[in-house]
């Protein structure tokens, strides 16, 4: 569906983007650096946001299964052995092992309308140091809160895998609208545990007091822009859940998907009725939204930054396309079109998607980004028992 008009500026911009893409495909991918939007703390982060509630696991990059006595001792399964592997940050709604939601609510504003002091409010998130521990009975994570004296135990399921993962990796997978699974892989070991984000009591209502209201300044004030960006992101996460990974240099890659697109809805049967060569339409959802601060390569296909705004993060819509007996991901330059509005004019790339039947038959439409190390990862889209994935490499 074409937009109602094409301005000269728009055409110029598209031509520039096309020329840029051609130049990029002709030579090793070289894009303008994009300011990182994640934390530049040298860690690998895996994030999952469900219902605006964040769970994040952070690991040191390059934790090799073969390095150090402590690593080998733990992986060898010596009871009582353990080591610190990273941190866990969880919204106060998180229930994971013995970590329980913080149900207390802020007090309402005082009668004179004063806002409650920030320090009186319960923390939005809690951070824990994570230790991987081999117990007599099996495996667990110990989570030590930054507040002293709070230690939590998180039992882990354990499997030995055929495939070896040299460095410790963590990933967070949505399994339901308000639930997920933490996966850890290291060497041939594979651990997992489930978590939930529970419903919190509503915040008390503020009495109406005249004259209250936060001053706001112009759209050029960095503080104002920051606040506006946070509010907009709150809206985005009101509509979409998000899986994200952050590289040690702060480059963030995210995949946001519309909430509540269930297997019972009218869109799900289209997975079986979509014709060869067509994309799967979604009436109840916007297209999957992929955003990256760093250029990536899927197979032989480069996915650069700057596709919708030169010098800025790449933003793509992702569609599922049936091709023969298999599937491909179609990436377009329209990341905010609705799921009924596929327009091939905006196609940016197609990449092969490996397909498998796996997991919970009732999973709503979702997606997961998995980092296997600082340069490699995997994009997974799942819906019911269906899973599609593609591996990527970071292009520096």
């Amino acid at each position: 569906m074409a937009p109602p008009s094409f301005s000269l500026g728009f055409m110029t911009q598209r031509i520039a983007v096309i020329l840029g893409a051609l130049a990029l495909s002709a030579t090793p991918l070289a894009t303008q650096p994009v300011p990182p939007s994640g934390e530049t703390d040298g860690l690998l982060h895996a994030e999952l946001t469900l219902n605006r509630q964040l769970v994040r696991v952070s690991l040191q990059p390059g934790l090799s299964a073969d390095d150090g006595v402590a690593h080998r001792e733990v992986l060898a399964g010596a009871a009582g052995a353990g080591l610190e592997i990273g941190t866990l940050e969880g919204h106060r709604a998180l229930r994971l092992g013995t970590i329980a939601p913080i149900m207390e609510t802020p007090s309402p504003a005082s009668d004179d309308g004063e806002e409650i002091e920030e320090e009186d409010a319960p923390p939005v998130t809690s951070t824990y140091a994570l230790f991987l521990v081999r117990t007599v009975d099996g495996w667990e994570l110990e989570a030590t809160a930054t507040d002293p004296g709070q230690e939590h135990r998180i039992p882990l399921r354990h499997l030995m895998s055929v495939r070896t993962v040299p460095n410790l990796s963590a990933s967070l997978h949505a399994t339901a609208a308000e639930a997920g699974r933490l996966d850890l892989r290291w060497g041939r070991h594979r651990w997992s545990t489930d978590f939930r984000l529970e419903e919190l009591p509503p915040s008390p209502r503020q009495p109406r007091v005249s004259g209250r209201g936060s001053p706001r300044s112009g759209d050029r004030d960095p503080e104002e822009v920051k606040r506006a960006t946070e509010i907009s992101r709150g809206f985005l996460l009101g509509e979409r859940d998000e899986s994200a990974v952050v590289l040690p240099d702060g480059a963030r890659v995210s995949l946001a998907y519309w909430k509540g697109v269930d297997v019972e809805d009218e869109d799900y049967p289209r997975l079986t009725t979509t014709a060869d060569g067509d994309v799967v339409e979604l009436v109840r959802a916007s297209v999957l939204r992929f955003k990256t601060d760093i250029s990536l390569r899927f197979g032989g296909t480069d996915i650069p930054t700057g596709n919708v705004a030169p010098g800025y993060a790449g933003a793509y819509g992702i569609w599922l396309k049936r091709v023969g007996d298999g599937w491909r991901f179609v990436l377009t330059d329209e990341p905010d079109s609705w799921g009924t509005q596929y327009d091939p004019e905006f196609d940016a790339a197609e990449i092969d998607a490996a397909y498998a039947r796996n997991g919970n038959a009732f999973r709503p439409l979702g997606a997961t980004l998995v980092l296997t190390d600082a340069d490699h990862g995997r994009m997974v889209v799942h819906w019911g028992v269906h899973e599609w994935d593609a591996e990527f490499t970071v292009v520096r």
């Binding site: 209502r205 209250r212 506006a228 709150g234 955003k291 609705w338």
Partner: protein, 439 residues
């Protein structure tokens, strides 16, 4: 192409033949005889001293008299020639909306001839009867005298240092105003003559939550119409108009409900700029049998980010109609970057129809497009709403926003929205047969 040319020529011939009522000779054209009737019918609804209601009353100058109109004569001629005035932003479809504005070719020619002739006053004896506007005889209400009025119980002070604020107030409708469940057919918002109100929306909240809401407020980051306990009543913004539903159509309000006053104020901050706001909503009760319960809501997409410097970025939303539907109104709502909006029906047989196309969207004119006759859309029709945005530095310089960032949904004027409001009724066989007598 040929068909179009024939049509244009045909209209030209018809126009030339059918235009004699307005001056055929420019020397005869005068303000009182020829121009004032056009101004009364097409311009004065906005171009007159502002009343309390923001609904449409935002014109910067009045055209009530020759003395007020004459200095603007050349500007008026230019604006009507280019069809910038009277303001109407949809190019399709034409002739189906009751509030469509626009002058005929003959009316435009009359104004051109008047200006060319030196904008003469003519004889005051030719003056038509002055137009009487409803609010002049109805204590400021444009729809007549309301049956009851819900007013914010205390004025709210918008402080000096506020530049832009969205805030929602809640008031329970007292039994003295509405002692029983009621069908309302019309409503009008009055926000006071402060000049700094960007928009006001109101939703009706069910009695189950009304008492808890009463007297509270929340700085809005989107709290609004999509709560399971609430239903959007309406919104009004610059260039908007109050709503009176067609006969037989009404909105049901339960006894003990609350209403929200969702207000967006936008002003220059600074000493002495504070003002009081005490908005009110007038309601008109449907006393005749009601056949159709009206629903106001929106197709929306709040999960977007418009890229920096992008000149033509689309944000879409969609809905599949689960029942046969009669559509009464559309109101596309977005902010400064929006350049175009479109509503499209994709019928069950695959045919498409553009229900509303607004190729030159203007944030300063928040028009609700009201059908003369409700539009029927069968069950299984898909409704698409698209907005296009220009986030280039060139537009930013004109409109005063920051083009150097991804911009998402947000309450400030400098943020964006993508809301395709729609007023409609679902035709349920049972409900369609039922009539409810309010008495």
């Amino acid at each position: 192409m040929t068909r179009t040319l024939v049509a244009v020529l045909a209209f030209g011939v018809i126009g030339a033949v059918a235009a004699p009522s307005y001056a055929e000779n420019e020397a005869d054209v005068t303000y009182y005889k020829d121009v004032l009737p056009i101004m009364q019918e097409n311009c004065q609804s906005c171009h007159r001293p502002s009343g309390q209601n923001i609904s449409g009353l935002i014109a910067p100058m009045a055209f009530m008299s020759y003395e007020e109109t004459r200095p603007w004569a050349r500007s008026i001629a230019h604006k009507v020639q280019t069809r910038e005035m009277p303001p109407w932003f949809a190019d399709a479809p034409r002739g189906v909306f009751s509030n469509e504005r626009g002058l005929t070719d003959a009316e435009i020619e009359t104004i051109q001839n008047w200006v060319t002739a030196g904008a003469p006053a003519g004889s005051q004896a030719d003056t038509p009867t002055a137009k009487v506007f409803a609010e002049q005889v109805n204590d400021g209400w444009t729809l007549g005298t309301p049956d009851f009025v819900v007013r914010l119980s205390d004025p709210y002070v918008v402080k000096d240092d506020i530049n832009d604020i969205n805030i929602v107030f809640y008031e329970q409708i007292g039994e003295d105003l509405m002692p029983e469940d009621t069908w309302v057919k019309g409503w009008e918002f009055r926000v006071g003559d402060n000049g700094w109100t960007h928009h006001m929306c109101s939703s009706v909240f069910s009695p189950s939550v009304a008492a808890e809401l009463d007297g509270t407020a929340v700085e809005s980051e989107g709290e609004g119409a999509d709560s399971p306990d609430s239903r959007l009543l309406s919104c009004v913004a610059e260039g908007g108009e109050p709503d009176m539903l067609p006969e037989g159509f009404a909105v049901r309000v339960e006894k003990g409900s609350a209403v929200s006053f969702n207000l967006h104020y936008n002003k220059e901050p600074g000493a002495g700029t504070a003002f009081d706001s005490q908005p009110e909503i007038g309601f008109w009760v449907e006393k005749n049998p009601v056949k159709h319960e009206v629903i106001n809501d929106s197709l929306y997409n709040r999960g977007f980010e418009i890229p920096p410097h992008h000149a033509n970025y689309r944000v879409g939303s969609s809905r599949m109609l689960e029942k046969d539907t009669l559509v009464l109104t559309y109101w596309p709502h977005a902010h400064l970057r929006a350049t175009a909006a479109r509503y499209t029906a994709i019928y069950p047989d695959g045919n498409e129809e553009v229900l509303l196309n607004v190729p030159n969207y203007d944030q300063g004119w928040q028009v609700t497009y009201k059908y003369k006759e409700p539009k029927f859309l069968p069950r299984g029709t898909r409704l698409d709403v698209d907005f296009w945005y220009d986030n280039t530095p060139e537009r930013a310089a004109r409109m005063g926003f920051n083009a150097d960032r991804f911009v998402g949904y947000g309450p400030r004027t400098e943020d964006e929205m993508s809301l395709g409001f729609i007023g409609y009724v679902e035709i349920d066989d049972t409900k369609a047969m039922k009539t409810t007598d309010n008495d």
